[in-house]
Amino acid sequence: MRKFVNNPNDFVPEMMAGVAAANPNLLEHQPEFQLIKRKDRPVAGKVSVVQGSGSGHEPAHAMAVGPGMLDGAVQGAVFAAPPVDACYECIKQLASDAGVLVLINNYQGDRMNWDMAVEMAQAEGVNVKSFIIDDDVAVKDSSYTIGRRGVAGNFFVIKACGAAADLGKSLDEVLEVAKKVNGQVRTMGVALSSCIPPVKGTPIFDIAVDEMEVGVGIHGEPGRRRDKTKPANEILDEMFEAVSGDGPFSKGDRVAVMVNGLGGTPISELYVLYNRAARRCEEAGYTIVRNYVGEYCTSLEMAGASLTLLKLDDELEKMLDAPAEVAARIF
């Protein structure tokens, strides 16, 4: 196995312990629940924003805990939603008087576990609401999902809600921000290789070196079709048309653009794609106000990339501009 792994069953706990060890002042790791939380949260008067899903999508979700972002996150085993109890603890431990917003990517497992946890916490009087993110335009229903999947657009929902919560907005107001971002963000991805969950030890699907999965999901779920690979610009063009054609985008719009690596694709290739994306936006009459090129929502070491467009307005621009910091940083 081409991986840095000890006992594969310890992979997730050890990774999360590493994240906490790298941020000793900021973060706390509770191995019983695979929970990473800010040490200084919850605080009175501020809505807590939390998330959690299967592991393997790092830096989503636990590595997105930090100032201006998530207050806490739980992760399940690789590609398996966290158990109800972990979700419940996450909500309970982060509950402030202002409430808790749970951001859920639209997967069956995540929804079920979080739904049960939210019910349990509500039954105990916690002011908690949840919101489903579903930005993936590739397929309507998919493996793991009824309706669209939640993928890299997730970052923008977190970033905006984190900023809104920092501004002291109420739970309902932060929820409105989540709805707004989700309504204006669209993503599609392409995979060039599979990935290897540590416990499985082998690739989760077969794909030839000259093939790509267009519209792949972040667990390797099939997308629109399997096809022969094409030049980078043609792949980007297909993603651009899918994303741009689906969303509420029109000439004159101000947008944020994300080229997200799926884990195994070097950043050089992501910039080759971004180069084309910038050109396509220009031709479409979209002004790129912010861009994001790197890894935000991955599938372990999968080679591949996704394109995300977010339509902006003054409010959202301010939210994206707001200060933020996460466990996975550069300096």
Partner: protein, 225 residues
């Protein structure tokens, strides 16, 4: 003789744990054909603890025992399997809180309650190619036998029969719920891992309780992909 003791239930749970643990890799591999390959590991993460805790846990009633099982699953199993199996055991437990012994009619009602809980939890129904496509016809068969007053052994044999047959039939289906929906060509023709698990478990119960039955499907005889 038509009664099922708390000891029988314990033995069935122990057997289930054995089946899940012995087939962890197989179940994950099945799940890997059209999905993310975590089904075996997910179930095992719960049943490993159940296997370890079973001698110790509250056996003051069938319901209390099943409630504990449900809680171990809910606490430790994520993905879809945690809520689905946890809810199933929970609903079955609710009907047997006071019981030390049950009959086929009780069992039929427990399975029915589990099915209702699973439907509510995951939103799936018959024909979505999930383990409900096994549980629902099994439930019907149990009802039939309960009305006829059959022995648990006969009911078990027929339930295993149904599980195997439905597993086979569902291969042709396109999954519509859970992890394998919209896999299109990739999933059509492949069995649903949850349905295979149900069939394996029932077959192993047959063996454990001395019910003679010879499985035909290679999913049950071979237990590797």
């Amino acid at each position: 003789m038509s009664d099922i003791t708390i000891g029988n239930v314990e033995r069935a749970i122990k057997t289930t744990a054995d089946t899940v643990l012995a087939n962890q890799q197989y179940f994950s591999d099945l799940d890997g054909i059209a999905g993310d390959g975590d089904f075996g590991a997910s179930l095992a993460s719960g049943f490993r603890l159940i296997d370890a805790d079973l001698p110790e846990i509250d056996k003051s009633s069938i319901g209390n025992m099943l409630l504990k099982i449900s809680m171990i699953i809910t606490k430790n199993v994520g993905g879809c399997s945690g809520p689905i199996w946890g809810t199933g055991f929970m609903r079955a437990a609710m009907l047997t809180k006071e019981k030390q012994e049950i009959g086929l009619a009780d069992l039929e009602q427990m399975v029915g309650a589990a099915i209702e809980g699973i439907k509510a939890r995951g939103g799936a129904d018959l024909g979505d190619k999930t383990l409900l496509d096994s549980l629902i016809p099994i439930h019907e068969k149990l009802k039939e036998h309960a009305e006829k007053g059959s022995s648990p052994a006969v009911a078990l044999r027929d339930a295993a029969e149904v599980a195997e047959r439905k597993m086979e039939e569902a291969k042709a289906l396109q999954p519509r719920r859970g992890r394998q929906s919209f896999v299109g060509e990739r999933a059509t023709g492949t069995p649903d891992p949850g349905m295979v698990a149900i069939a394996c478990i029932l077959q192993d119960w047959c063996e454990q309780f001395g019910v003679e039955r010879t499985p035909q499907a290679k999913e049950l005889t071979q237990r590797s992909v």
